[in-house]
């Protein structure tokens, strides 16, 4: 199962970087979102894939039983999702304002400041 997730994360990274290198800045934003998802998936896999063992202390016991799923990577992913959500929202507004100012969404035309 780890192999499947690793391959999916790899494909998402590849797709994301490919989109970021396209000419249109909207595709740049889509690429950023894709590699954000890929990073989240990587953390998920790296934290260990345990099936159907929730991290809940059993009734009457003092501590977690061994071999439960690790809740910490899931908390990390939630934080990362929220952060990348805010960041992608900002990026989309930014590229929309930049395209309007430049008159085109072609990234190669954004070279006015490179004297």
């Amino acid at each position: 199962m780890q192999l499947v997730f690793a391959v999916i994360a790899g494909v998402l990274f590849a797709a994301g970087f490919y989109m970021m290198l396209r000419r249109s800045v909207l595709k740049l934003a889509i690429g950023l979102a894709l590699i954000g998802h890929a990073a989240n998936l990587t953390i998920f896999v790296a934290g260990g894939l345990t099936r159907a063992r929730a991290a809940i202390v059993p009734p009457g016991a003092d501590a977690l039983a061994s071999g439960v799923a690790d809740p910490l990577p899931q908390a990390l992913i939630l934080t990362a999702i929220v952060i990348s959500f805010g960041v992608v929202a900002f990026t989309i507004v930014l590229i929309s304002a930049a395209s309007r100012a430049a008159g085109t969404d072609d990234a190669t035309c954004f070279a006015e400041i490179d004297a």
Binding site: I43, F44, A46, F90, L94, A97, E112, I113, D114
Partner: protein, 503 residues
Amino acid sequence: MNILPVLPILIPLTAAAASIPLWSRPVLQRTAGILGALGLLVTSCVLLHHVDHAGILSVQIGSWPAPFGITIVADRFSAIMTVLAGITGLAAFVYSVGGVDDRRKRLFYFPLLNLLLAGVCGAFLTGDLFNLYVWFEVLLMSSFVLMALGGERAQLEGSIKYVTLNLISSLFFLVAVGILYGAIGTLNMADIAMRVREGREPGLISTVSVLFMAAFGIKSALFPFFFWLPASYHTPAFAVSALFAGLLSEVGVYAMIRAFTTLFTQEVGYTHSILLVIAGFSMVTGVLGAAAQQEFRRVLAFHSVSQIGYLVMGLALFTPLALAGSIFYMMHYVIVNANLFFIAGIAHRVRGTSTLKAPGIVCVYERAPLACLVFLIAAFSLAGLPPLSGFFAKLILVRAGLEIESYVIVVTALLVGLITLFSMVKIWAEAFWKAPDATPEATPETGEGPSPARSMVTVSVGLAMLTVLIGVFANDVLKLSLRASEQLLDVDAYRRAVMGVMR
């Protein structure tokens, strides 16, 4: 729970929160912001004094014991960086009073500055790796908005490049943190240091450490990741440029130093020799790029890249004297670089343009001679002339390099200093000293423009005096840097302060 290490984060955050509802009263908003920056500076100085005398200070947030909770740790290096953040923050605030136009001020400029400072201090003071990622994102978001604030076309274009590359760096950081957690099982920096030293998974740790190097390398604008910096730092408002150049790249260097002195020292021959090569190339490419530029802030942006090479050179040499050199250089460089960008703003105000070779434009000497003197101090300090701070900073690094017979990097550092001097003299000649052409066709376009605001010149003079003071009291500053670098290399003391005397 001792609250002192948390105050440098709380004060700017509270000031930002308090100043956002005051958007209809700009004077009050400005005052709340400046009070926040002043509070930050005072608190960080008290923190440095306390840590210097009493040792590493650590606070467990929420009283969760380490390594389960998040720790805020202040050792000498973090405290020094927080003081630098306070100085640069206060300078940016005071400069913005006269240096930033009213439209930007109405768009929540001052609360954003405070949020940026809160994020920066959070990054300096945290003892948990994922918390570092969160503070990086806080300061990154504030910097995105500050860079685009104002909405000119140049700003938006620069923002896209800035946003893209910094987001890639964040994502590399996130992936590296995830893989490190999977390999080691903890995110607390002291705990990671301990488990890495126990020798777990050495191959994977080395790989992850290079991924961290890439992430922090993009953030601190090292070779070969630095291309976003000259493409974006010359576009926003001048106070924002100065704050970014003086503080944001240094957060990346701080993270790099923290990662490669506390966390990943298990394969020094490999990781630190890569850092040495990167440092050398950064120095050279930065300064050669600067020689080709014709706009004031672009020259300074390329010089930022080159000076960051010096900072990482000290880290890469990895002796106590070299790390002390890095810390001394950090103190000198933050103040000088921020000052140079502030002066670029003053020059723009006087001349009306930032291009260097502009025939018919009045030179700064005719309208603001004090600004010329301040530029001379800052520029010569950057190039490394005695008795200013840059000379002693370079001297310590060169001495550290010679002590371990690392001759290539020492020669590179000295040659780059010479080319830096050439660059600074070029700016001086074109922008500050050359009299405008007396030909009748070349009428001065905005030569009758306003002279720079008092707040702008006051800030530059203050920072220049700091530069001179660091040069005069170089021995005391060196002693502080040596104490800080010995504490950096003493990972056991760090671990004991965070986790108590347990194992």
